[in-house]
Assembly symmetry: D2
């Protein structure tokens, strides 16, 4: 149960079988940092090319394909006083004939909004009082946009997108205190993490949350011989499964199928019992509807699982 | 502000320009009943053919195309001691290659589960202790599955599906106390209502909530000259818009576009302000992912709208 | 085998259980006319409201639900010297972020192009030499955009869209000489026809073919007790099935499933034989990708069916 | 204009920035071989792991990001006397509730059909007379299932799927004599090729064409400074563009947008002219509807382009 303090010196914009930056053992904790989606760190200076640069990968000694990597998000803290968002709902999220009515920025520099982040007060405040929103503050809800494990067979997948290995899911449920499960697809699992958001709406419909650098603490452990097919997670109130694909219908199919497997294999429900329970108790959240692969999350309340 | 007590004698399985059963004025309240999805009323006996039979239509004197019909759901009470659900997640909601692993019932009579409804205790209890769920009780959360107004140009749309006029949206947010807005598409609006659920999971993924007859009280009023494009609603905490289509991506497009219109026309937000707010504050709920048209709901918390 | 000459006096913009305009017997031929998509007839004057007005419905005495209506397209002839098209690819057919680059017309009158139709020469010639196309002529290929039978249970479906009953499929394969099969869903079948195109590209991606009034001759007959689920057709070289839905993936599912049924029930192929044949011999055409429901067509060459 | 004879010694199941196996100059021809989708070569023995193993990558000296790689398919010849197909339409290609009626093989060895390939006679004949197809022969139509260039930014994309870089498109139009254009995304382009099919139906709906090893001759050249966004191609009769995504609707969007760019930049059409032409002359083909990304092809006949 070692605690590793790791300061990254380079980053990756794919999740793949890159050279590990650190080797840890199951149960170890890593204290590290992440840059924002454009590669800017805690000083606000860009230190690496943009595109959701990842810290890592971290090699977990015990992890082999067919196992499950357990990632506990111990601590997620914005590490600088400002973050940024885009200011226009993405064209793919509105009706096609409404796209011409979007507030397209005339100049690139008009496309971003700056937010002031106050960790002590727990607020993000829009640094622009020229819109009709006036002084506009929202409660912080720091979450990880992009994290996961190296895919199988030497694939290196862009951090713009997501799949079975995790990736850029942009689900606002990935907050401090949550436990996330990834299928191990390569030896050592090769865990990557980055793309912190101070807060985000469902769907990441403007293409960003409030993008910011993070101080991150995670604890990684391995469940040997436990095979899962899609990312899973749990918090105090729910277990959940994550489907990444297009269209959203297919995300729902992946997440629902994975939940049916979990209820039957992990909670000893018979098939008919699992289906009856799902039918009347299931809930779904939207992760992102912006990236190349979209994300839907299938949730079952723990209280109905006794 | 008359209160009408209306006892239906026949029902419709399309929403269309049928002969009105009652003419009311804007502001009037209707106390009536609905049968369940298979046409069974408060005695449990089937009294009309199945397929979400509708009570109505109710003609509202002031309503003309281009207006908005306001429907306040005053009271929704299950009116008999049992409801029923299907017992298998629908094939379209799981991965295609998982369909063979669903618990297909060998006999039709094995496809339904009965639930005992206790309005006083506020519970629905599964009347079958043979599954691994054992004694399984859930809190009641009565909601309307299918309601809306007659579509334009003489269309008569099956109550199996939904569109701009409302219809079979199966959204668990349509509960007592909620106000719903429909675009008026024909003179008199011609409001229909039915398909009550004692409770339901997101997505109606087994094809049913707990299907049951209802005692219903609604108040109908008209907003003259107010043009909307999709159903809208509000409760104590949220305003919301509803998109009905396939795939879910298109539901999101319809609902998001309608919300952008609402924020700009109804809340005096400038375009950039509306987009910034949506980006970081929006939430989405899944209505149904079972019917011919699926449903997604776009929500904005009232607390960020001051 | 009577030949009926029928001159319509009114039209319908839904396909539904409307009052029949003529009752015929199985095997009878109908010689009639259709107006264009905006309701203009052979004089070019608008004589009925727009929206794909249908001629009919025609009641076929022998037809009952569960039968198949056979429609032979004997003759389809443009009946006036000009037709019209829209001039911009629809926003839903291009990438969302490309929509702003479409040539949106500043004025409604700039949105239509006129084409001169010469039946003798067999050409349609663009009546506008101001574009870079210069003098632009295409060979005529007259086809029916919208036709079908009344849907079940009193539904009346807009002629803007399509479903199991047929409707606005906009498939360029529905030309003179083709035989089309529709499932009979109501007594008498209630056949409707309209929306002639002098020619059309795949997908009807500008929202129109060359829209024009038609002289139409069709022969209707009934196959008693033959149950089909989706429109089917055949020409000299192919049998084909039609799926109408969204997204296109679902159109393919409907059409492929219907073809698997046809091969096994109509051509005595065993399941494995039908699947092997489909795998290596199937072809697909795109009907429309513009209407509320899209259309894909699944074809099998007759030469591999012996 | 050198002709290189290259015999591969290893293969890749991702398309990525792998070590080049050969460096060539623009205009050079490569004569080489490919193994089948399961890694079996001309002897029928498996010589490399399965999953569409690629021959290459080939580094083209002049190619830099922003250029176009031109691939002329000079010669595609099946190199052994047998190929194989799967025998069941994939579950995602039929209606979800029809999946249980598919002829699922009881044993893995029952899932494949062998076909005898006769290059001289130009036929593929099913080596199984036990189905209702009897003796079943089809004309050979050899095509490339998977080929393309390395994606940008170090991505390595599985040969199971496709994207802007090409990949597993399974389009039956990629036959001998066709010229294909790929966007160059990395220095040298890094061209990969494999997955030959003796013939295939549209959609690759059983998950395979007739899978076989190939003798391949291709000529590679570079168009400097020519930027394209998706694969393009041309044959004697058509120019075409290729969209790879899900759902098929999005494939159509990508391919149509790319064709609009081509017509305006490559054929000097003004926007309105390009749109009018597309509307009435475009055709679409279905590539695959089986792989993680589907494929649709947008075609314009050369005869309307003068």
């Amino acid at each position: 149960m070692t605690v590793h303090h790791f300061q990254p010196t380079h980053y990756h914009t794919t999740i793949g079988s890159h050279q590990p930056v650190l080797r840890v053992r199951s149960g170890d904790t890593i204290v590290t940092t992440t840059v924002d989606a454009r590669g800017a760190g805690e000083t606000g200076q860009q230190i690496t090319p943009p595109g959701n640069p990842m810290t890592g990968p971290f090699y977990v000694e015990e992890a082999e394909p067919g196992d499950t990597l357990v990632v506990h998000l111990d601590k997620l803290t914005p590490s600088r006083p400002t973050g940024w968002t885009r200011k226009m709902v993405a064209p793919n999220v509105v009706d096609p004939d409404y796209v011409t009515q979007l507030p397209w920025p005339a100049r690139p520099e008009d496309s971003l909004a700056i937010w002031n982040i106050d960790n002590a007060a727990g607020t993000a405040t829009l640094d622009d009082t020229s819109t009709s929103l006036g002084t506009f503050a929202l409660p912080l809800a720091p979450m990880v946009g992009c994290f996961g494990v190296a895919p199988a067979k030497g694939e290196a997948i862009s951090t713009a997108t997501s799949a079975q290995h995790g990736g850029n899911m942009d689900y606002r449920g990935f907050v401090e205190g949550v436990t996330v499960y990834f299928p191990v697809l390569t030896p050592g699992a090769l865990f990557h993490i980055g793309d912190g958001h101070a807060l985000q709406g469902d769907g990441e419909i403007v293409g960003t949350g409030i993008e910011i650098s993070f101080d991150v603490t995670v604890t990684l452990s391995v469940q040997k011989g436990k095979l899962i097919h899609w990312p899973r997670g749990e918090n105090a109130d729910y277990i959940f499964t994550v489907g990444n694909a297009r269209p959203l219908d297919q995300c729902v199919q992946h997440a629902t199928t994975e939940m049916l497997r979990w209820l039957q294999n992990g909670y000893n429900l018979d098939p008919v019992g699992a289906h009856i329970l799902m039918g009347q108790c299931v809930e779904y959240d939207l992760g992102n509807i912006f990236d190349p692969a979209y994300t839907m999350v299938c949730k079952v309340p723990k209280k109905v699982l006794r």
